[in-house]
């Protein structure tokens, strides 16, 4: 049974300096509030894992929380670049950022292996690309039956995974719907997990296209309305596309980012 706590308490207890941390949510249900709480609590040396770093990791990287990034696509969707991510990679600001780079298919399969208790996953991937030259977590593997050579990627098992969902009940059973991305796998792959939710309800009524995570595979649940803003929560609020566009200007130089950071802190 998941423990229900405040966001500050949950992040304080579950996220430690130096941890490998995955905050997942594929465009939808991105756990922004939890990201801001990590910044507020001043965590450092984190290895951040996420398929699409998005604004949330641009913020954590700019705030100096991260030592390393494991990812597959680091842009501002529909807008352009992630300037804090760029600044860290190109100029080591505010601290150097090591990167471990994959494709979406590779990252998704790394979570699947993690959730499945396997050390690696097999895919048809990275064919003809330069990624295996730069990323040592991409290796060939042969089929024991046909001899065909395929690609292997190692499991991801984050110290802690954080996701946002629409609802939980009082036992910490969690329900999310709409685009559910890789969240189930990311939670099941992790050693500890935190789910922030729009609301805690008495009963989770069944819904189409819903994923339910039983409370006994979730460590902590925190009620955080609007916890995915400026991304969206299906049936609660829409994506704040304006903020995504504004972020381009806010993040473009270190000073304006510093102002944003001071307000968050």
């Amino acid at each position: 049974m998941a423990r229900i706590a405040s966001l500050a308490e949950a992040v304080g207890e579950l996220v430690h300096d130096g941890d490998q941390v995955a905050l997942e949510g594929f465009t939808h249900l991105i756990p922004f509030a939890a990201g801001h709480e990590i910044i507020r609590q001043g965590r450092t040396d984190l290895t951040l894992v996420r398929m699409t770093p998005d604004l949330i990791y641009d913020q954590l990287i700019g705030a100096g929380c991260a030592r390393k990034l494991i990812f597959s696509w680091g842009g501002n969707p529909g807008v352009g670049s992630l300037h804090r991510f760029r600044d860290a990679v190109q100029h080591s600001w505010p601290v150097p950022l090591e990167i471990e780079e994959h494709s979406h298919a590779g990252m998704a399969n790394r979570y699947v292996a993690g959730a499945s208790g396997l050390p690696f996953a097999v895919l048809r991937g990275y064919t003809g690309t330069d990624l295996p030259k730069q990323t040592d977590t991409i290796k060939p593997v042969s089929c024991p039956f046909t001899g065909e050579v395929l690609t292997a990627v190692p499991a991801l098992n984050p110290d802690v995974t954080i996701v946002h969902a629409q609802r939980a009940d009082r036992k910490g059973n969690v329900q999310l719907w709409g685009i559910t991305g890789v969240q189930k796998e990311a939670v099941l792959a992790a050693k500890r997990s935190l789910v922030t939710v729009e609301e805690i309800v008495d009963e989770l009524e069944p819904r189409p296209n819903a994923v339910t995570l039983p409370g006994w595979v979730v460590t902590m649940v925190a009620e955080v309305p609007q916890g995915a803003h400026p991304s969206y929560a299906h049936d609660y609020y829409v994506r704040d596309n304006e903020f995504y566009k504004q972020w381009d200007a806010i993040s473009r130089d270190r000073d304006s980012f510093g102002q944003w950071l001071a307000e968050i802190r």
């Binding site: 298919a105 998704a108 990624l131 890789v182 596309n241």
Partner: protein
Amino acid sequence: MTYTTDEMMTVAAARSLRDGTSCFVGIGLPSTAANLARATHAPDLVLIYESGCIGAKPGQLPLSIGDGILAETADSLVSVPEIFNYWLQPGRIDVGFLGAAQLDRHGRINTTVIGDYADPKVRLPGAGGAPEIATACKDVVIIVRQSKRTFAERLDFVTSAGRPSMIITDLGVLRPRDGEFVLTQVHPGIEVSQAIEATGWPLRVSADLSTTEPPTPSELTALRRLTG
């Protein structure tokens, strides 16, 4: 009706999609073109987004590949691992529709870095779904604005290496001949010299060069309804 070169490009890309086929759609130009196809000659085109939306039917263009409208209108909504493993990987999708930051004469794409990987001049977003879209779909089409910077003599990094059948630009269409992309089609009003000028490698021109049919009023109306 007058139209922009971007509109011509999007219309040409849309026309390349046959009704009743399935298309794995990248965000941006590819998504606009695929939705235009569905709104015009290909009402039964199946749009597949990497966010897990199969058979999405958005009335308005989505801004990201994970907009709520894609989920709400999809025939089937699946997880991200499933979309890559069960749907893309086995080669059951007819066309991959991709954009590009930089590409070479072989149709290989760079969306990773400009300059040295370890110490890049410009850090680009990276691979996303492209490496596997480019190799797993039965056919691959690239939609990209043509310029010397984008159509590069040499890529600093190979992010995706499929075998596209077409590169559709704001100037014309390139197709592979003997392992290299050559100009096979120019859009109305575009000179061959403009296309050559906008290409970083010595662009060859096909002997059977043709001119694209201009956008019809109904294509333009449908496109402007989508983007407006």
